[in-house]
């Protein structure tokens, strides 16, 4: 091969390399920045403000969010008209909507979701997130704040529809099913007799795990390293949450029983007349039974 030819080939290779990574690099940076901002925006204080963090921590968190949003906006402005990047732009718009959702900018989040095209969503997770946008926005405030049973019932209906459409055993399905279990737990806590809501909520959640997934949850609980290593890391979270969710339900259930008994003993008028009758005739005192659908969760033991 002559020197001239080699030179030309190198030139072509260099041009190819130069042309072949600019956009991808931009997107990688945006994904990295937005992921970091999303974690900070959603994280509980223990994680978000590590020990020794300075007093400007909240400001830094906001700054990360704003930086990621600005990067996304710049990319969209530059590439919105490129047909070859329409899925990419759409996926970044969804990231922007999520970031706005979790950083408390609910109205902007709604406006951004409206710009996301579900037809261009290229994976099951994004489709489900688009369909459950209203639920996610609502739950950010309702989880630890003001809660109306009617709103919860409406959002639970939407969420169930989205979950049923999502691929079984997929990450997004587990995420939304766990979220639903949390919403049902809080919804049940607003009932006079909370037991039915707890039973149904946990049974519905337990039904999301097939035989293979239950075996993995068992492995998780038993905690033997050589067995644990066989579990795919991106699924660890869902197996871990199985017993965490169970324990949340069990704790809330027991607390309800204890509180009701104690209140009744102190003054029968402390409890609703319906519960009062159940306590008086002894039916309330029967041992609580979890439905068969979630028995496997309790058979696992440990947390």
């Amino acid at each position: 091969m002559s020197r001239t030819t080699r030179t030309r080939m190198w030139l072509a290779a260099v041009l190819l390399a130069a042309a072949s990574c600019a956009t991808r690099r931009d997107v990688e940076e945006i994904v990295g920045a937005s992921n970091g901002a999303l974690i900070l925006a959603q994280a509980d204080p223990g994680l978000a403000a590590p020990e020794g963090a300075d007093s400007d921590w909240d400001q830094k968190v906001r700054g990360k969010s704003e930086e990621a949003l600005a990067r996304i906006d710049a990319f969209i402005a530059q590439h919105a008209e490129n047909p070859a990047l329409q899925r990419t732009v759409n996926a970044l718009r969804l990231r922007k909507a999520l970031l706005l959702t979790f950083s408390g900018q609910r109205n902007l989040a709604r406006a951004t979701y409206a710009e996301v095209n579900k037809e261009l969503a290229g994976n099951a997770r994004d489709v489900a997130l688009i369909d459950s946008a209203d639920v996610l926005i609502w739950w950010q405030d309702a989880a630890a704040g003001e809660f109306h049973a009617a709103d919860a019932d409406r959002h639970l209906k939407t969420l169930t529809r989205v979950i049923e459409a999502a691929p079984p055993l997929s990450g997004i399905r587990y995420y939304l099913a766990t979220l639903r279990a949390h919403i049902r737990l809080k919804r049940a806590s607003a009932d006079v007799d909370q037991r039915a809501g707890f039973r149904e909520g946990l049974a519905e959640y337990a039904g999301e795990f097939d035989e293979g997934a239950r075996a993995n949850v068992r492995t998780w609980v038993e905690g033997r390293p050589e067995e644990l290593r066989k579990i795919p890391t991106d699924a660890l979270r869902w197996y871990g949450h199985a017993t965490i969710t169970r324990d949340m339900y069990a704790e809330a259930y027991q607390a309800f029983l204890d509180e009701t008994r104690a209140a009744f003993q102190a003054d029968p008028e402390n409890v609703d007349p319906i519960l009062r009758r159940a306590l008086e005739d002894g039916t309330f005192e029967r041992e609580p039974k979890w439905p068969a659908a979630c028995a496997w969760l309790f058979d696992l033991g440990g947390g």
Partner: protein, 657 residues
């Protein structure tokens, strides 16, 4: 060393291709990153609601703690709180009361932090995976993208992009790899066409392959002269397709659709090669125009009907084949007379078939049969005399197609028989386009009227009888189209059906039945006012009576042609005096049968003495005439009856003498 202009051009196109490829690959990878990256989705802290019991307890404590205070700080609320504590299902009121008195903040509610709990559990197990803090954090939050819904893999998209660029670069540089000019031109054209769409945007390899096929086929069409060589017919056919593509709304797709079924093989290897054997090159030019026109019309029709589009893609060669078959048979006459005929007929057939798709698509056989029949009919110069007018022709073809497609009729009659009937109907009605203009489903009415009634006979012998009935019906209608107003086909079909049953039961021979059908067809047609309007069913009743009496006759006086003659004479009498007979057809049938049976009994005694066998039908007719005129007929078997019939026999014999 100086490089040539061609090499420089190659270098430029390679570099341009590399840049384009690089940009596309970059965009694909960017999309992959954006869509496949995990997203952090946390679970917020959950704070349960204060329980109903907690609200009541807090309010109960409030009541107690303020009971001794004067004035009562709760005022009217004390009574309200006491009332609420006695009621069920009042959570909202309890909440409002607690809020009003600042109790909500004092009620402890349970809080859960699911992510923190998981992180703690994961840390406890992190040694198994050797996870650092960053990984623990990631696994606490991330949700994977899940199943890819884009319909094509990363490998496909990259592969299609590379193919795309290679096709474009290769198209620009075919001269470097292919020295043979015609071949190079073909390859270049295929590659140029192939690189036109964005392959990366296609949903899978199947679509890319279809794109390649489309590019190749269109190249064949574009380069027909180079491909066809001396085979003028192939060239003509490709020209026709090229013309159709150019004027079709979605040209390239149309060509692909056309060739998607069996069309290409049939066109290039079968029909056209055969056509080239028996048609001259001059014919080919005419054929090109015809085929082109048919394809264009079909393309427009196919746009409006997805099912027709599929059907046409699968069967269009049948249409071409049928046209060529007709050309083979009638070619010179057809083409010399007026090439518009074939084109008009084929186009009309396509339109009629497309329009009648609501009734279900016909099959390829149907198409062939109808077209052959239609074109064959119009090849007759006599039929061609009045210029073909498309609207009624379309109706005619649709109507004939309906007959051939009718499942019920297909179950009873063979395909060739139905085609024969259809051809007969076409021949007849092509002479009366104005009738068809008034009643577009005429052919179907006539044939369905005749054949539908016969099909119910479920007889092996029904075929020949149907031939006779159809022939009789069509002949009669040809002579007098007004018969259509009288449900003539149905009446004839009903009688023929009855006869078919008798043939099946061995009551009469097939030939007798056919002759009777012909007689009845003629009689009905010439006495339509009586038999089809005033006294509908009378002819059937009389025929049944005579055949029943004949069948019951133990001596078998009437046989063979004599039975037919008896029927003919009897019907002649009824035609002349039918209105004098009672209105009750059952009574007429019973009386005729009784009288004929008695006449046959007397005849058997007189045969060879006062009466010859061939004179029996005339004697019976005489007897029936008296009955029709209302004359008193003595009871059968009585001396008076014998005398009467003897006089009739003498009279008949005398007349014969």
């Amino acid at each position: 060393m100086a490089i040539s202009a061609e090499v420089a051009s190659l270098a430029v196109s390679v570099v341009a291709g590399a840049l384009r490829l690089g940009k596309r690959l970059d965009e694909i990878q960017a999309e992959e990153t954006a869509l496949r990256a995990a997203v952090p989705l946390a679970f917020p802290e959950i704070k349960l609601e204060p329980s109903d019991t907690a609200l009541r307890t807090a309010l109960g404590k409030l009541l107690k703690s303020t009971a001794a205070i004067v004035p009562d700080p709760l005022g009217d609320d004390r009574q309200e709180i006491e009332r609420l504590r006695q009621q069920s299902g009042v959570r909202n009121e309890l909440l409002a009361m607690c809020r009003k008195h600042g109790l909500l903040e004092t009620i402890a509610t349970r809080t859960f932090k699911p992510d923190a709990a998981f992180r703690k559990a994961l840390r406890a197990r992190s040694a198994a995976w050797e996870l650092g803090d960053a990984a623990v954090r990631d696994y606490t939050f991330f949700v994977a993208a899940g199943p890819d819904l884009r319909g094509n893999s990363l490998g496909f998209r990259i592969g299609a992009t590379v193919l795309d660029v290679l096709a474009e670069v290769a198209a620009q540089n075919t001269r470097f790899v292919i020295g043979h000019e015609p071949t190079r031109r073909l390859v270049e054209t295929v590659l140029v066409r192939f690189s036109e769409p964005d392959l990366g945007a296609m949903s899978g390899w199947g679509e890319v392959l279809r794109g390649a096929l489309r590019a190749t086929l269109n190249t064949v069409v574009d380069e027909r002269e180079a491909l066809a060589g001396s085979r003028a017919w192939i060239e003509r056919a490709l020209s026709a397709v090229a013309h159709a593509r150019d004027v079709a709304p979605n040209g390239d797709d149309f060509v692909l659709g056309l060739f998607r079924g069996q069309g290409l093989n049939s066109l290039l290897r079968g029909v056209l090669l055969e056509g080239s054997d028996y048609l001259s090159e001059g014919d080919a030019e005419v054929w090109e125009e015809i085929l082109s026109d048919v394809l264009v019309r079909a393309a427009a029709k196919a746009e409006g009907s997805a099912s027709f589009e599929d059907f046409f893609a699968e069967h269009w060669h049948s249409l071409v084949g049928a046209g060529l078959a007709s050309l083979q048979e009638h070619g010179p006459r057809l083409l010399d007379a007026d090439d518009e005929i074939l084109k008009t007929t084929l186009v009309a057939a396509v339109g009629a078939l497309a329009d009648s798709f609501d009734a279900g698509p016909p099959n390829g056989e149907t198409l062939t049969a109808v077209i052959e029949a239609a074109v064959g009919v119009f090849a007759d110069p006599g039929v061609l005399a009045p210029a073909v007018r498309e609207p009624w022709l379309r109706e005619l073809i649709a109507s004939v197609a309906g007959v051939v497609r009718d499942d019920g009729l297909r179950a009873s009659f063979s395909q060739p028989a139905l085609e024969r009937y259809a051809r007969g109907a076409l021949e007849v009605f092509s002479r009366f386009p104005e009738v068809l203009a008034e009643d577009s489903e005429l052919v179907q009415e006539v044939l369905a009227g005749v054949l539908g009634n016969m099909a119910r006979a479920e007889s092996f012998g029904v075929g020949p009888l149907a031939d006779a009935a159809v022939e009789g019906a069509l002949g009669a209608i040809a002579a007098n189209p007004d018969l259509l107003k009288f449900e003539y086909p149905s009446a004839l079909g009903q009688l023929a059906g009855g006869l078919a049953e008798r043939v099946a039961n061995g009551g009469i021979a097939g030939l007798q039945a056919e002759a009777i059908v012909a007689e009845v067809a003629d009689l009905l047609a010439t006495n339509e006012e009586l038999f089809l309007a005033a006294r509908a069913g009378l002819a059937d009743a009389v025929v049944d009576a005579i055949l029943d009496a004949t069948a019951d006759d133990p001596k078998g006086v009437l046989a063979g042609a004599a039975v037919v003659a008896a029927v003919r004479r009897a019907l002649g009498v009824v035609a002349a005096h039918g209105k004098l007979l009672p209105a009750d057809l059952a009574l007429v049938e019973a009386r005729v049968k009784e009288v004929v049976a008695a006449g046959l009994a007397e005849s058997s005694r007189m045969l060879g003495r006062r009466l010859a066998q061939e004179e029996v039908p005339a004697a019976l007719a005489d007897l029936l005439e008296r009955l029709a005129k209302g004359e008193t007929i003595p009871d059968p078997g009585t001396p008076e009856f014998r005398k009467l019939f003897g006089d009739i026999a003498d009279d008949v014999t005398g007349r014969a003498a």
